[in-house]
Structures are given as structure tokens and as C-alpha cells.
Amino acid sequence: MSTLLLVTLLLPLAGGVVVAGLPGERQLLAKQLTLAISLVVLVLTLVMAVGFDPGGERFQFASSYTWIADFGVRFALGVDGIAVVLIALIGVLVPVVVAASWNDEPTGGRSMKAFFAWLLVLETMMIGVFAATDVFLFYVFFEVMLVPMYFLIGSFGGPRRQYAAVKFFLYSLLGGLIMLASVIGLFVVSNNQLGEGTFAFDALRQLEITPGTQKLLFLGFFIAFAIKAPLVPFHTWLPDAGAEAPIGGAVLLVGVLDKVGTFGFLRYCLPLFPDASRFFAPLAIVLSVVGIFYGALLAMGQSDMKRLLAYTSIAHFGFIGLGVFAFTSQAGTGAVLYMVNHGISTGALFLIVGILINRGGSRLISDYGGMARVTPLLAGAFLIAGLSSLGLPGTNSFVSEFLVLIGSFTTQPVFAIIATVGIILAALYILQMYQRTMHGPESLTNPRLRKARDLDKRELATLSPLIALIIVLGVYPKPVLDIITPAVEATMVDLGATDPAPTVAEEGTR
């Protein structure tokens, strides 16, 4: 039993409670405390990632406590190679978001203290959802996670925040309830097969569930995750939520929360319901590939920068979905790395767009122009993050996109080829937005932009870690791949899938 993970999980929650309890006038202390706690959590997540032994147990830093004994529910935590990198991503993004939101002024007289408190509560929920090894516990985190995000959007967001927050909440709640039915179903099956019901992931994945039952249970999870990810046509909550959320909230919403969906596919759908996964894989892949094009085309048609980024994410989730359901170690590893990389690069893009909006006071692309001359540093950061988003080699996203596509090609050549065409559209929507905001003559409609400030020290400090990660993980992704790969291989074993051999048998040319 290791308490490191437990401490990492509970620390932000405790911090959130403390921050919420501070007197109303201690705003600065609230920020400082939040930043300090999030930095400690960052250190803890990195210690875990470094200490994780890729060749060791599947779930490490595990701990387990009896919770609801009657139903076999345990407060069981543990991380595999997939969860540990996603938790590290959370560790990186939260302090970045804290720093990015430092000078935000909430609308309607609300206190930023509450914002930071909710942020810390959200961090615990996000870590928990990846760290749970008990399906019921996972479900609880999955649902409770909505609460802090609901308040972050609904209280601190843009003009249509109420609408967006409720839409987000209802969508996710609906998905969650459907999943609950499947969670209960799993309990029943385990009760029948093992004599006593359990929610322990390791026990559940060894069940022999009849294909018919598998399909039903699979769909419960799948729909919840497809809403969360989101896959087309379950996506319409995301553009509203992404556009109305405060920038910090948007970064975590798109960067982390949505990954719960794709993580769920890989962690729960594939190992628990292998037959159903194979049965529904064509559907999932079609939805994914449709999403790549649908998200990209809609991104191109947006006039609002935040909505645009939300739609690009739908396209990216299409790539991740394809990687998950292609059932090869390369595609699966690529999909996990994609989740991390997308969090970094889209997180950076949201932050940059947030800074741009801070300067120009508008979310509309058409209100900007020629900013590269006024704010060269901002333009440079925008370009690097954008190039990562379009998967340029040398940036992190190339590695993951390449792995997803090359891995999918061996089992799903047609869909992999169609998805590859999507990289043209990615270049289009990114470069189009970049050209319209950064290139060309300076904007005439908005005179205040002519004297806009370039990045200040705080903003530089916020963006630099992400920019550095974009390049470092683009050049040397091996350490991260080494952590992810064994976990994906284990998932493939659960699923009973093996990588296809090269069609031309070759003898030791290497």
C-alpha cells in the first residue's frame, strides 16, 4: 500500500476547502495558496511518473479501503501507465491555469477566491477519475467532477454561461446515468459469477460475460464516454461550454475532462467487454473519422476563436477514437499520447487566445489582424502551439498522430487513409486563424489593438512550460512512450488483440 497517490488525490481537495474558508478580503492569499498547493501536487505527480516502473505491476501506487462493504465497493486507487501520464498532465495544467487566471476579474461581483477553491476541488476529482480502480468509485468521480466544472463555467464564464453550463451538466449527467445502469449491471454479473458482487476492475476484467450482455453493458459505458469525449453527434455541448467557460476552465475542460471519455474507452470498454468492443468497433471508428472531418470543417466555419478551438478538439478526439478502436499497440499508445499532447497544445492555444481576448476585448477573429507586428512574442507562441495542433513533425502532436495513423493502418487501412486526409484540414483551420489574426495589415476596427501589450512576465511563465513540452516531447517522446506502451499492451491482451505481422515476412535485415 502506497499513500503517495492517496495524498496526491486528497491534497487539492483539502486545499480547496481551506481556500474556500479564507476570509473574503484575502484574495491574494487565496491565489498564493492555490498556486502553492497545485505546485506541490505537480511535484507529487512527477514523482509518481518518474517512480513508475513500466515493467512492474499493472497498477502501482495502489491503495484500497473498504467503503460500502455491503456492495463490495472499495475506495481503491492505483495507476497504470495510461493513468499516470494523464495525472501528470493534470499536475502540469492546474498550476498553469492558476497562473493564467491570476488577474482575471469575475463578472457579477463574484469572488475569485471561489474560482480557485473550485479549481482545487476539480483537481481532486480529475485525479480521482483516472486513479480509481474500483468501477463504482470511478463512477462517483465521473459524476461529482461535473459539480466544480459546472460552477466554473456557470459562475465565471462568458455572457451565455448559464446556458452553456446547464447544457454541459445535463449532457454529462444523462451520459452518467446511462453508465450507472451498466455499472450496476456489472455488479449483478459479478455477483452471479463470483458469488459476491464486486466493482474491482481487476476482478471484473476477468469475468466471462456473454456477448449479448456485453453489448448492453458496453453501450452504457460507450454512450457516457462518447458524450464526454465527445464524439459526433454527441458533441454540441462542447462548443458552447468551451466558448463560455473562463479560459482556465476551458483549458481543463478540453485538456483533461474530455479525456475521461477517451480514457474510459480504453480503460473500461475494451478490457471489460472485449467481444462487444470488437462488435462496435466499426461504429466507433466511423463516428471518429466522421468527427475528424466534421470538427475540422466546422472549425473552419467559426468566427469565434474559442468555439473554433472547441471544434478542433472534436476533430482531435476523432483521431484518438480511431487510435483506441484500431486495436493495435501503436495506435493505442498513440491515442494515449495524443490525449496528453492535445491537453498541452490545445491548452496552450486556449491560453493564447485568452490573452488575445484580454487585449482586444473580443472573441471574434474578424476583430483582429496584423498582431504579429504588435505582439511578436504572442504571435510566436501562437504559431508554435498552432503547429503542434496541426501535427507538425518536431512538435509533440506529430508523434501521437503518426502513431495513431500508422497503427490504425495495419488493421483499418481504409479509415486510416481517410483520417490522414484530415491533416490537410488541420493545417487549413490553424493557418487560416493564424493568418486572420496575426498576419495582414493591422486591424482598423479596433484601435486599442495597435498599442496592445506583448506577453508580460507572468504570461511568459504560464506559456513557457507548455511550449517547452511541445518541443521536448516532439523530439524525444521515448520516456513517455515507455511508460504508456506496456499498459496499452496489457489492454490489448485483455482484449485478445495482437498486432498484425508485416505482410512481407522478413528475416533479420536489421
Binding site: T236, G301, F402, A427, E506
Partner: protein, 638 residues
Amino acid sequence: MDETIEYAAATGALSTMWLLIALPLFGAAVLLTGGRRLDKTAPSMGTATVALTFALSVFYVVTLAGLDNRSVSLNLFSFIPVTDLQVDAGLLLDPLSAVFILLITGVGGLIHLYSIGYMHDDPGRRRFFGYLNLFVAAMLLLVLGNSFVLLYVGWEGVGLASYLLIAFWYTRPGAATAAKKAFIMNRVGDVGLAIAIFLMFATLGSTQYADVLGGADALTGGTATALALLLLLGACGKSGQFPLQAWLPDAMEGPTPVSALIHAATMVTAGVYLIARAAPIYNLTETGRTVVAIVGAVTLLIGCIAGCAKDDIKRVLAWSTVSQIGYMFLAVGLGPAGYAVGILHLLTHGFFKAGLFLGAGSVMHGMHDEVDMRKYGALAKRMKITFATFTLGYLALIGFPFLSGFYSKDLIIEAAFDKGGTSGWLLGGAALLGAGLTAFYMTRLMLMTFFGEQRWDKGVQPHESPTVMTVPMIVLAFGSVFAGFLLVNVFPLESWLEPVFGPRPEVEHVIEPIVVTLLVTVLVAIGIAAAWLFVGRRQVARTPPVSVSAVVRAARANLYGDALNESVFMRPGQWLTRALVFVDNKGVDGAVNGVAALMGGSSARLGRAQNGFVRTYALGMLGGSILVVAALLAVRFG
């Protein structure tokens, strides 16, 4: 052909060859992040890194020449390792990459030097030299990488540098749009290259040259053809070949040294490199080779025809580049008979076209950045060095006997005829016709620029460029004159490249070489005479004539390539996007909101209900929890 490919491990001095990429990359990083204090030193710093890289290249190539096995591989680190997929970051120095690194750093160094003068007054010169260094690093990675994935990394890297440099004057909407167009059209090609890499992994289990090229013989004919065509798509994008040629002339929006280095001498020839590198695959597929040759022949004619109708000096040269790369594609499409010849033309073209572009830049420099040849005229006396060097480049390009282009182009035309059969006659005929057209449009350019009457705008005082610009032009002019002779007779390129391409097959000549030479000379003479008749002896109007034939109109419109792209891809794409935005807002989302409204009153009402009232909200959560517990109890006791 049953040959295994053996790359020796790099030892000794060659184990430091990663410096070739590290040096310019370091230069780029320092210049781009260094801040304004480097503005003054940036030009010399940027030039120094490339000059040093050139010196290193010479040293490495000399070292390589002294080895028995002239293919040396250096493994740096494991790049993308996932189970059976093992992509290494490694370099390969062999005779083919050796000639490229000399070309890239040699011509690149000269163009950096020239840019010191050309960009002297530009406030963004630090950025300019940073981007140029970045380009050199990416281009060296492209040719030195020892796997198709590393090639792809360099491939998109030079695309980025090209994008940044075309958009260098980004406040001009034309430049920004041209840059985006170049990147997107390149990406279309990159899709082909990417899928080719996937197919290599699926069939051969690797993307390393050693495994793919060494194991290519085991491929089925269909797979080999598919690979050849996919790689060709990538090559067409990068090299501005039909049907992806439209971006290259627009790329002239970038500063002229960029046009010379990236869009004439090096990057745009990467497609030729790719095909030559993948020779073991192309050797397996007659169909693949033929398509390459046809693409080359079609493109060389398109380039010539469009080049005849342009008045912008850089656009004429750009279309000429499209056309000359068409010759190279035609050559490598001929297989073992043409690989080395194609590379030879690539090298000679690198000299004379870079020289011509620098000359054009020098003219623009002296003419207040005017690019319209209708506003030139009689510049020969005002810019003697530019005129002299430009003339030598011109003669080399049209294939004047014993100058560089004469050697390389004649060999291509010869080899095309030697292919035999109808296709041989068609390809050879196209190449021959192209030689005549080249002579026409280049003579027209010479006459409009350097001869005739002054048609300058008021206040324009043409003057010769500073020494720092003329020296590179002079050096390249030497190359234009002697490179062909040297590479054929003194340091024979063909035998140097033999370890890569194998020996050139002996063939019966369909037409005797001397006859080909005579035919070319006659056609070139006709081209020159025609230019004299239509342009030289008449007065050149300062505005382009309006009432022209359909042929001229078509040529001015680049044979409607852009119009086709617009009507087939762009407009339907925009229409689709608009339609989808409408559907997504009204349809998908509308349906969802409708359902929501049915289920629980309107979402606006829900919004009010949830409007910050934690009580209400907590009540909802309690309700949810009760539901959960009830469901659990039902299961447990049901």
C-alpha cells in the same frame, strides 16, 4: 536484383556528422530567441553558421570518399519506439546525400552572403536569417535522415521554413495568403508520403531505409506500384509538379534570396531526391516509373507555356523552375537510365537558377523593387556585373553548348528517346519542345530586361548592387558555366552515384546523341529567333496588351490550374463548411435542445432554476444520490 543494403556504422570523424544539423539549428534558435540586441550581428552570424556547415560538409564528404563502403550510418537515439515499430533518429551519409549536403550548404552559404546586402535595410533581418538557418537545418535533416520518417520530419520542416519565409513580409495580404497556400498544397502531397510510410510499415515492418530499400525486392508488384505513386504524390507537392504546381509561382511573394535558395535550388528539388532515394522501389514498377515520367513531361510543358506569358521577372523564373524540375522528374522516371542524369540536372540547375534569381534580385534592388519587366529595359549598361552573370545563367539554362545546362538537359532528352517505343518518342518530343520554349521565354526575359528602350518609372535610378551581392552571383555564374563539364568529365557524378543507383544500363540509342544535340540546338535557335521576332524588334508596351489570343490568355491564367483548384476544392469546401455550420447550429443542436425542452421545460427555465442557487442544486444532487442508492437497493434485494 538481389542485393542487400549494408550501411557501415559511422566511426571517427564521421560520428560527429550530427553537427551538420545542430549548427544551423543552433543558429536559428539563437537568432529567433535572442532579441533585438542581435539585430546588428544577425546577418553575419547566420551566414557564419552556414559557412561553417559547408566547411564541415566538405570535410565529411572528403572523408567519405576515402572509405571503401561509402554508405555510413550514424544512429543518434531512439525516436519513436512502440513494440514492433522502431523509428530511430539516425543519419545516413552516402554518395547521394553527400552531393545534396554540398549543394545545400554551398549554394545556401552564398545566398546567405548575398542576403547580407539584399536585406541590409530590412528591420526584420534577424528573423530572416533565423528562418534561413532553420531552413538549412531542416533541409539537411531531409537528405541525411536514415529513415522515411526522419525524411518526413525534414520534409515538413522545410515546408515550415518555406511558409515562414514566403510570409516574411506578412503585413502584405498577398504574401500571407501565398504562404498558407504553399503549406496547404504541400500538405496534400504529404498525405501521400505519410500513407506510403504507413504502407511500408504494414508490409515490411519498418520505415528505416536499410529495411525498406533493402527488403523492397520482397514486395508484390501492386504494393510497389502503390508505394511509388504515393511517394510521387508527396514529391509533386514539394516540387511543384502537376497537379500540385500552383503554389510555387505564388511563393515568389517571399524575398528573392528565399526564391533562389528554397524555391529554386534546394527545397523544391526534394521531390527528385525522394524518388531517387526510393529507387529500389521504383525499379520494381514500370507503371510507377512511367507515371513519374509523364508527370515530369506534362509539368515541363505547363511550366514553359505559363512562363512565356508572364511579365513579372520572378514569376517567369518560377515557372521556369517548375519546368526544369519537370525535366528532373522525367529523368528519374526513366529508372536506372535516368537517376544519375536527373541528379546531374538538379545540381547544374541549382547553380544557374540560383544565379538567375540572385540576378533578378539584383535588378529589383536597383529598380526600387519593381518586378514588372515591362518597366525595365536597357539595363545591360547600368548593371554590368548583373548583366554578365545573368547572361551566363541564361545561356546555361537554355542549354548553350558546353555550358552546364547543355550537359544535363541533353542527357535527359537523349535518355527519354532511348526509353524506346511510343512513350519514348512522346517523352523525348515533349522534352525537345520544352527546350525550344525555354529558349523563347528566357530570351524574351533577357530582351525585356536588359535590352531595348528604357521604360523605367519616374525617379528610378538603376544601379549596380554592392559587392556582397555581386560576389555570390559571380561564383554561381562560374558554376553555371563549368559545373556540367566538371561533373561529367572531371569528377564524374555518375560513377560517384553508382553505389546508390547501380550501373547505368547500356542501351541502343534510338537517336544518336549528336543528332539529339543538333535537334536541341536547332529548336533553341528557333526559340531565340521567335523571341526576337515577337519581342526584341518591337516596342514593348508598358502595360500588357489586352486583346490577345486564347492561348496567351490561358498561359497568363497558368493554364487555369488555380481556377480548377478553386472550383473543384475551394468553393465546394466553403459551401460545405457553411452548410455544416448551419446544420450543426440548427439541426443537431436544435434537436438536442428540443429534446431537452420536452423533457424538463425549456433549458432557459432550467438555467434560471440553476442560477447560482446552491440549495436547488444540492437538492438535485440529493435526488440523484437517492436514485443511485435506490437502484442499488433494488438490485441487491430485488
